[in-house]
Symmetry: C2
Subunit: 307 residues, 2 copies
Amino acid sequence: MTENAGYGSAGVGFMDGAFMALSELRLPVTDMGFQLADMCYDAVHVWKGRFFRLDDHLERWQRSLVQRRFDTLGYDRDAVARVLHGCVARAGLTESMVTVIATRGSPATAHKDLRTCQNRLVVWAVPFSAVVSAEELETGCDIVIAETVRIPPEAVDPTVKNFGRLDFVQALFEAYDRDARYAVLLDRDGFVTEGRGWNIFALRAGELLSPDRGVLEGMTRRTVLELSAALNIKGRLGRMGADDLRGADEVFLTSTAGGIMPVRSIDGRPVGDGQPGPVTARLKDMYWRLHDDPAYTTPVRYEPAEA
Amino acid sequence: MTENAGYGSAGVGFMDGAFMALSELRLPVTDMGFQLADMCYDAVHVWKGRFFRLDDHLERWQRSLVQRRFDTLGYDRDAVARVLHGCVARAGLTESMVTVIATRGSPATAHKDLRTCQNRLVVWAVPFSAVVSAEELETGCDIVIAETVRIPPEAVDPTVKNFGRLDFVQALFEAYDRDARYAVLLDRDGFVTEGRGWNIFALRAGELLSPDRGVLEGMTRRTVLELSAALNIKGRLGRMGADDLRGADEVFLTSTAGGIMPVRSIDGRPVGDGQPGPVTARLKDMYWRLHDDPAYTTPVRYEPAEA
């Protein structure tokens, strides 16, 4: 697993009809994707030369396009998939994180009526990386439960993956100030939601629980629920209090960027015995084995298709 | 007043130490200012060749830098002011909107620890424009009270001006669907907050009221409170319900982008007699006369300073 060195120095991007080095991929500041965070995105990964759950990611992203009312993107699903293949192929990566974004685009006049914008497709592929460090993937990571409250669904729909993440930013600085590197946020009623780019699971009394509302419906979260069924472990979505986390036998984060990532402490107190637990290890192993399964994967087209 | 044609086609920007045409001003997609909306900004305007309340804007922006913990910007207040003058001068504008932004910058590694980012200064100056159209400045604009709830202060501090505005985006589409062009948002408890880029005032029984919490502490809002005191009209900040708006004699929006802008209808029902009211007109007149007052204004340095 890489230590994620040099973010942005390697990779290939696509915007306004052209492929380019990621270092040259720059968004016009007039794009409402910047000025209003008016965008939606998805992140899919490539492992051993194969996309993982590509169709599921594109389906979710396309639902986001509809919810965000991006009507003028000008790329259908097949065209978008070709751009994803093209970025990974041009970057020459067999392990990659791929980001696919739609932005509102730039308005026709300074009045900034959003209906006058031409939506924009932005894609990039970089070397695979995890939310946590290589060491933390093995030993577990330290998280805090933030005082900062998650942006509520009544204000911004969290199932439409987006970059309007100032709540996460504030929470991350809380973590840094408390000798941790990651933060999970509660909602205003005190229920657990998610962190920057990940869902969270707790194992208690043999049952896996993850929050059912106020969160992204993560693809790795879905995969874990499927795998737990195969393991005969009851996995369910529901309300989760901070005490459900603190009293758990095992806790892990899930993300396309890293898969299943054990948590070893919460607010400075160890989870279980402070070592990644057996269920976490078992799920992690099963998760990575799925990457060889043709039902879950799509080979990257590294050679240009015939015309 | 301009009809705001051709947003982004005219103007001068500054980033990474260089001035450039606004059309060339593009933010690296690796900047957390895009990926997390991890940025803060301010907007100041130039009228008849003079900045309005430049020191007050820069003071607010610098407080935002501290709150957002942007420690590595590399430009002190005088240096930032020089860039603002430089953009307006190079654009040759006597009436201009100037945006000054700090972003978190790009992280050193894909792990995206925010403490590894080099903060970035981004500035641009464009021809002056208002939130509403030239016609609406005269006749009043139509707004709706949105169902979408404003992002609460416990999640993101609204006094730190930022681009994490998906709640406004959602609310604007509610307005478009209801034959209006602007939306004001309530908080979860039903109290009025603000709209995209503006505060709101209601005049009832001779008293001016504007929300005291969950909003940007706008510079035009502050100016209106100062002017109302001079007019012997009681102006105050406090909780404002939707009925305070609906039952008002006059309603107006305030923004650096346009000043004092009358509202003629709310949810399709006229405010007062549907015409901009006398207090609004009086305040508007006083507001624009302040732009000749040296105590409120700073002449743009159109000629390069002597070395």
